[in-house]
Subunit: 210 residues, 2 copies
């Protein structure tokens, strides 16, 4: 494989393989990045392809200052994402403690980790980025949404199911109220939560890596 | 090279090559990740090895909610970093506009983009992460610090020097007041801004990729 791939496609493939569950041995095709004119598709592609981002809260410990924290997330099983970021967090961590006091949170992800920006700078507007703002909510452990969230998270982050029980990890989600998307020159793309959430992943065209 | 490297070391190398300026053809060695017990070293290594992160502000547009935004940064030329994140931003972007109204900001980076976490989940505490909180400040354009910041940014992000003049990009920095570091089990590592800033990069041991 290595000898027959260009460094950039190899980097892309290795990047994806490094995200457990994103590429399996059975599924060596990935959704192709939508055109920049397709704001909903690009935003949903970013949410589906990424496995981690930065969740920001109003910090209680830091007297109301913003506080960003690296967290893992998933919006669904590969090809079945709904665009809603689900998290598996413990209140031993300051971020969920903050968000349970003040639910206003911001979740930022970049195209850079997917490998598809190549050598384009992560701050270059053609290396897309997405910030979802809204309310942080606990997902009740016995609901059907909790089952969806658990499968979403444990498929993309297999080690989570073995994380220590005494840490009391819980399922949380971001109820999206505002979307900031940069995927080309010319400033943020207008995109409503409704347009974002109604986009169907089966609209992605596939890029074969096999 | 590809055929003689393991996927993880190849991924690490390609990851580094993808960060322009971090690895040059003349310099195929990189600082080795310090031991987790070395909090200052680990934090400074994260700041030196990363090229982007998420800068969070108190949003003016979103009425005081936190707002995280993906930005590029640099703390210095390779091997000469000072630990202070410097940014090259335009007030066409909401983040510096917010921070010029309320200077309290948070800057979060992960070990994940460096490739050294391998398949360890980005939320696993052994995949280290750093959040720097403090005040956002403009770096005056004709100061010696501005010259350091410009070299720091343009060496790691070569395309920045060609970004459009009419966007009025300016140099900014984060004056660090609080550090949140996770680099192992057991919660955040106590680390003061003083301990972090006084750490000398020449204390890094080198990992040869040649």
């Amino acid at each position: 494989m290595a000898s027959s791939s260009s460094p950039s496609s190899l980097f892309l493939l290795l990047s994806l393989i490094s995200f457990s569950g994103v590429v399996s041995s059975r599924q060596l095709s990935i959704p192709r990045k939508p055109e920049p004119s397709n704001a909903a598709g690009t935003a949903r592609w970013l949410a589906a392809q990424n496995s981690w981002g930065v969740l920001s809260t109003i910090s209680n410990d830091l007297e109301g200052a913003p506080f960003g924290n690296v967290v893992s997330f998933s919006d669904g099983l590969p090809g079945q994402g709904r665009g809603i970021p689900y998290f598996y967090l413990t209140t031993l961590d300051p971020t969920p403690r903050d968000a349970l006091k003040d639910p206003r949170v911001s979740f930022a992800i970049s195209e850079a980790p997917t490998g598809t920006c190549g050598k384009i700078d992560p701050e270059n507007p053609t290396c897309s980025k997405l910030t979802l703002n809204g309310k942080f909510k606990l997902v009740e452990g016995n609901s059907s949404e909790a089952e969806f969230a658990r499968q979403a998270l444990f498929s993309k982050h297999p080690e989570m199911k073995d994380w220590p029980e005494d840490h009391n990890f819980q399922l949380f989600k971001l109820d999206i109220e505002h979307i900031f998307l940069i995927d080309w020159f010319g400033g943020p793309k207008p995109l409503s939560p409704e347009e974002y959430l109604k986009y169907k992943q089966n609209q992605f065209s596939l890029l074969s890596l096999a």
